[in-house]
Symmetry: C2
Subunit: 325 residues, 2 copies
């Protein structure tokens, strides 16, 4: 079995895109740029770790499909940044800002297609299933993004709405990453499905962690300003839970705070943060993350694969959820 570091290195090497040509430049430069500004590469790593439960043979027929997941993910970020009007990502200008909107649309488009080019390296015998899994997932990611945008216009959403939305927007791709590795590794269907569920539940935990860190993370480590979600009234797990808990005076206080804008940033962030602590939202989020993490590990057990072998995946999940950024 490969170590965590060895898998990291394989993915890093593969992150320099294999392209037949790079013309026209305005189309392809943004792709190289997106790959160059970093990223945790979770999806290809999860894919390779899952694959590694079944095989040590790290050739093109698994590496390219693993990278298809990353390429697809990066494409969604290019388009999301246009739709959100985001100027920066990972401390760098977004493609939309660095070039322009048209270029961001089109280079995102070609990046999406490139992901299918990479997927096509999957072994012929699993290609139909790989294609089906990938396309189902990628369409769900679009659905999740649409729900996310739709929810912005609603005064409130339920916990169920939120879980459904992050399920589609984030969790399914992590789930797909795990299942893809298993599929290409030749795992039996129940193992593929258990790894899908592992990835899915890990994905839910991951997104709630993301929401949590945006408010309670360490700014130095996190690399970006704390409280962005609060300022934007983003319907995070924390806000949804807070709205559910707050009544009477606290409810009014929250509503008033939500009216505040960028100019009252510091006050808004600190006040809402305190409200989260007072109402037990912070603790509840920590418990929720732990619960989904446990559920994810239970799915790993269901694979019937020896703990010795699933250790990498378990460590990977642990590191993901204990991260500070």
């Amino acid at each position: 079995m490969y170590t965590l570091e060895e898998i990291d290195r394989i993915v890093e090497n593969a992150s320099k895109l294999q392209l037949i040509h790079r013309e026209p430049a305005n189309l392809y430069e943004p792709l190289d740029y997106m790959m160059s500004i970093g990223g945790k590469r979770l999806r290809p790593k999860l894919c390779l770790h899952s694959y590694n439960l079944l095989s040590d043979d790290m050739g093109n027929s698994i590496i390219f499909p693993a990278m298809a997941l990353e390429v697809f993910h990066e494409y969604t970020l290019i388009h999301d940044d246009i739709m959100d009007r985001s100027d920066t990502r990972r401390g760098n200008p977004t493609v939309y800002k660095k070039w322009n909107e048209n270029i961001a649309i089109l280079s995102g488009d070609v990046m999406s297609l490139l992901s299918y080019k990479y997927l096509a390296y999957a072994p012929t015998e699993v290609l139909p299933d790989a294609l089906k899994l990938f396309t189902e997932t990628t369409m769900q990611v679009c659905e999740g993004q649409q729900y996310d945008m739709d929810f912005e216009n609603l005064p409130f959403i339920t916990k169920e709405d939120y879980l459904m939305m992050i399920g589609l927007k984030t969790a399914v791709l992590l789930a797909c990453s795990c299942k893809m590795g298993a599929l290409i590794g030749g795992a039996p269907v129940p193992v593929c499905n258990a790894l899908y569920q592992f990835g899915y539940k890990l994905g839910i935990a991951f997104q709630i962690t993301d929401d949590y860190l945006d408010t309670f993370g360490n700014e130095q480590v996190f690399g970006k300003k704390i409280g962005g979600d609060i300022v934007n009234n983003k319907k995070t797990w924390l806000l949804v839970d807070c709205i559910r808990r707050a009544d009477g005076e606290k409810k009014q206080a929250l509503e008033k705070l939500m009216q505040l804008g960028e100019e009252d940033r510091a006050l808004k962030v600190e006040s809402v943060r305190n409200l989260y602590v007072e109402l037990g939202v912070k603790e509840a989020a920590e418990a929720e993350i732990l619960a989904w993490h446990r559920k994810a590990l239970e799915e790993l057990d269901k694979t019937g694969i020896a703990p010795q072998q699933t250790r990498n995946l378990r460590q990977f999940a642990e590191a993901l959820l204990r991260r500070e950024k």
Copy 2:
């Protein structure tokens, strides 16, 4: 063999999209809308006609891949309309105008993925090749669109630039449509490739015809205002040829005319049109279309398939290039 009308009908029936679900509405309604506002459905028809040279068995394994070509094409139109800031298409509001830009980006995105879902119905034994052909083509279409946008900022382009750009932006998808049908029909490689070339050359003729009709078409039949390309200084075959021919006085006249804007529309269109006639550009375009049409038909002959059987394709090409809109 099916008649032209029977193939038309199969495509028409298939144009009502098969979707697992239609939620969220903001994501999927634009897809139904695009399919509902018409379109010549050239690409699936070419695909089915090519397939029909080899087989009469019109099942899901050919109809869905044929529609993948149309779905992909419609998605490019959604995104093109954002990038061009076009308000109308086929006399109807564009998706970008009818909904908004974010919805147009995302519904285009999911439509692109849906095309892969449909492509995946291709028979397993040809799926790897079908996927390779489709993805190569779709990436080329993006390249063509990027070149088209890049060229807008150049004072002039050569005939070669133009042919390269329309080759990528338009011709390869028609070529792919023909080859896809042959591939799924089980044709030998040389036949697949000859049909690709047929579609490609027909595509070039088709695009030049499009340019020609925008200036010299019959407004009533054409369904949209004549001269749009002239008003926008679009680098059509006509303009590229005109720039090449014009010198001295005519060159100066052309340059002055290109400075005119929407407010001088009638004058600009009539004057440039006259210049095209005077300089022999109109005739040259007619000859060029004829030449590419002939080259396309020569490719059909190269398939070695009996003229009796290729008659539908020949009639289809004929109708395409003799159209008034």
